[in-house]
């Protein structure tokens, strides 16, 4: 395990660390979870492609070929390779592992989904977290049964390397509604933010289709419209008063885009003036809850022809407070930290590269 001094030497030339808030560990096969699961589920694990809905829209590979540790192995399946190929190469100080169970919460069986979540978390701590001090874990939970999810959060929440809970933003009932509160309660009880990582939309038991007007035709069309699930969850969470009920809760929108936020904040604030009598529990404007409680990861950052327009957009959404860097390694649309961070104005860059994440995840040691 490296020391803080050794860590300091791997800082990039910018003079501060980078916290990467979205890095994926992948199983070579679900059978890797066998040692962490009761025997009753073993038969299902063999059915790699059968156990969870697979994305029928997929038209390009999910992962970077060069992230494969060796011929025939899944990219992102080997912590040692990922350390050299990713952490060292890009001078990453801390990397938040977000898992690879994007369709977990779309499975019809709540017990099987919960057992997979538990096994995957144990696999993560066992194989990844123990291998390097730079890794941090997200606790993966299945949303089918919020009480089982809360139990899993309580089981692992006090681990010093657990830094957040992660769920999909795909659901049949918005997360601001009461059935979901046991999960928020457990997050608050364990002092953990909750991340909504895009994935699983419109599949399995999560009935609303990917697009708001029915299923799209192509993966291009699907990927373009994914942020509407993040928008819908944010809207529900804020309007239902979740941040009044859980004043210490933080929510992270991961891989859900950024540039839609100004529009939604402005619309919510305007409508709040006319319809606030419906939501007497709100004490502030919707945008104030968002700026204080919501965080957004950069990847895949929008890229207008003139990137200055994106800088403007980041200012509209107070990126110096709300935005966290993420690369999405080892996925196909990986954002190189050099590319993204070096395009930001200096003051915003430091906040996005590490300060916002260090504050959110209490990773203050990397400042030294």
């Amino acid at each position: 395990m490296e020391t803080a001094v050794q860590r300091a030497s791997s800082k990039p030339s910018t003079g501060y660390g980078i916290i990467d808030c979205d890095v994926h560990q992948h199983l070579n096969s679900y059978e890797e979870l066998k040692p962490y699961m009761p025997r009753v589920w073993w038969d299902r694990l063999k059915e790699y492609n059968g156990t969870f809905p697979s994305l029928v829209w997929r038209s390009i590979p999910l992962t970077r070929r060069d992230a494969s540790p060796e011929e025939g192995k899944i990219p992102g399946s080997d912590p040692e390779f990922a350390k050299k190929h990713f952490l060292d190469k890009h001078n990453i100080s801390k990397a938040i592992l977000t898992g690879s169970l994007l369709t977990l919460s779309t499975h019809p069986n709540p017990d099987y989904a919960a057992a997979i979540a538990t096994a995957f978390n144990d696999y993560t701590f066992d194989k990844w977290i123990s291998s390097d001090d730079r890794w941090r874990a997200s606790i993966v939970v299945a949303t089918q049964d919020p009480l089982l999810a809360a139990k899993e959060i309580d089981r692992l929440g006090s681990h010093p390397k657990a830094c957040q809970v992660v769920v999909t933003p795909s659901s049949s009932q918005p997360y601001g509604q009461r059935w979901f509160y046991p999960i928020f309660e457990a997050c608050v009880r364990n002092n953990l933010p909750i991340a909504l990582h895009s994935g699983g939309e419109g599949e399995g038991i999560n009935t609303p289709p990917i697009s708001a007007v029915g299923q799209p035709t192509t993966n291009l069309e699907r990927h373009n419209i994914l942020p509407i699930h993040q928008m819908s969850q944010l809207n529900s969470i804020v309007c239902e008063g979740v941040f009044e009920r859980f004043p210490t809760l933080k929510v992270v929108c991961v891989e859900g885009g950024l540039a839609w936020l100004p529009h939604l904040m402005w619309r919510m604030d305007k409508n709040y003036i006319a319809m606030r009598k419906e939501v007497p529990w709100l004490k502030r404007k919707p945008s104030e809850y968002i700026i204080d409680h919501y965080r957004f990861t950069t990847q895949p950052i929008e890229e207008p022809e003139n990137f200055d327009e994106m800088i403007q957009m980041l200012k509209f959404m107070k990126a110096e407070k709300t935005v966290l860097f993420a690369s999405d390694y080892p996925h196909w649309d990986f954002d190189d930290p050099k590319f993204v961070l070096h395009k930001l104005p200096e003051e915003m860059r430091r906040r996005v590269a590490y300060e916002n994440a260090a504050e959110l995840y209490q990773l203050n040691d990397i400042h030294s």
Copy 2:
């Protein structure tokens, strides 16, 4: 009927006319349609609240009380009153009537829905269009049966006061998909743009819920998230190559918000680079189709605390070409032209107030 010279005298002090692209005519009761409908449907007309899904989220009145022509009458139900109370007062040169059948296409019976559309169109030409040269009609069609809709467009499309076709953006299958093409074909054949006017989302037979993650709780939450249906239709229409198949087609997003467009254009263009092999029919970047073929009405315009941010957003979406003024008279969230237009920079204001709409709807006589 007024002459062009008389019309000129009613121009506002800005020195140019205003074309209002979203004004609603309302029935006092569905029974007003009796004279225009076969007797077989008359029984249904009595059931005013029963014939079409009513918005269970509604928490505030739909219309401005002061727009009621007299005690007990529905606001927007009397063309003579609306002329004085709205057209004259706000110096409107032309007003595009968009109807009030927002849930028409959510009805389970395609023949009844089509009969209502036909009757409503006849009512509009009979009672409204004939009453003043400033009114223009949208041809209302029901989407349940695209072939019946096309027939209705052909029946009325050559009327000199018909200026577009109007449908809801709410659907169970995205409009870029093939089943909808008879409607686009009829629009092109009759040289009419098609307007997607927000309304009817998540109701009746249109199964995707209003929010992308399930039904919202309050009207505030519902109204905040309505634009995702417009985003989804735009995404489908562009990605499916509708503008390559119908190169003269124009689409108008009415009452669907504006400030989300830069985000979606940027995301679509970025994804197109990676996934263009899925859509070989596209010959240009998605944003180029949008800027050339799509138009967006202003109301309800987003209002950040600092309106300069909205001006920036309008520049990102090339408002000088793509944005049309709309007031939404006589609805509750009416935007006063003075308020909206006077906040825009002069060059953009003239384009938004009348030039963009005059070009789109070929209303060139109002320039004089």
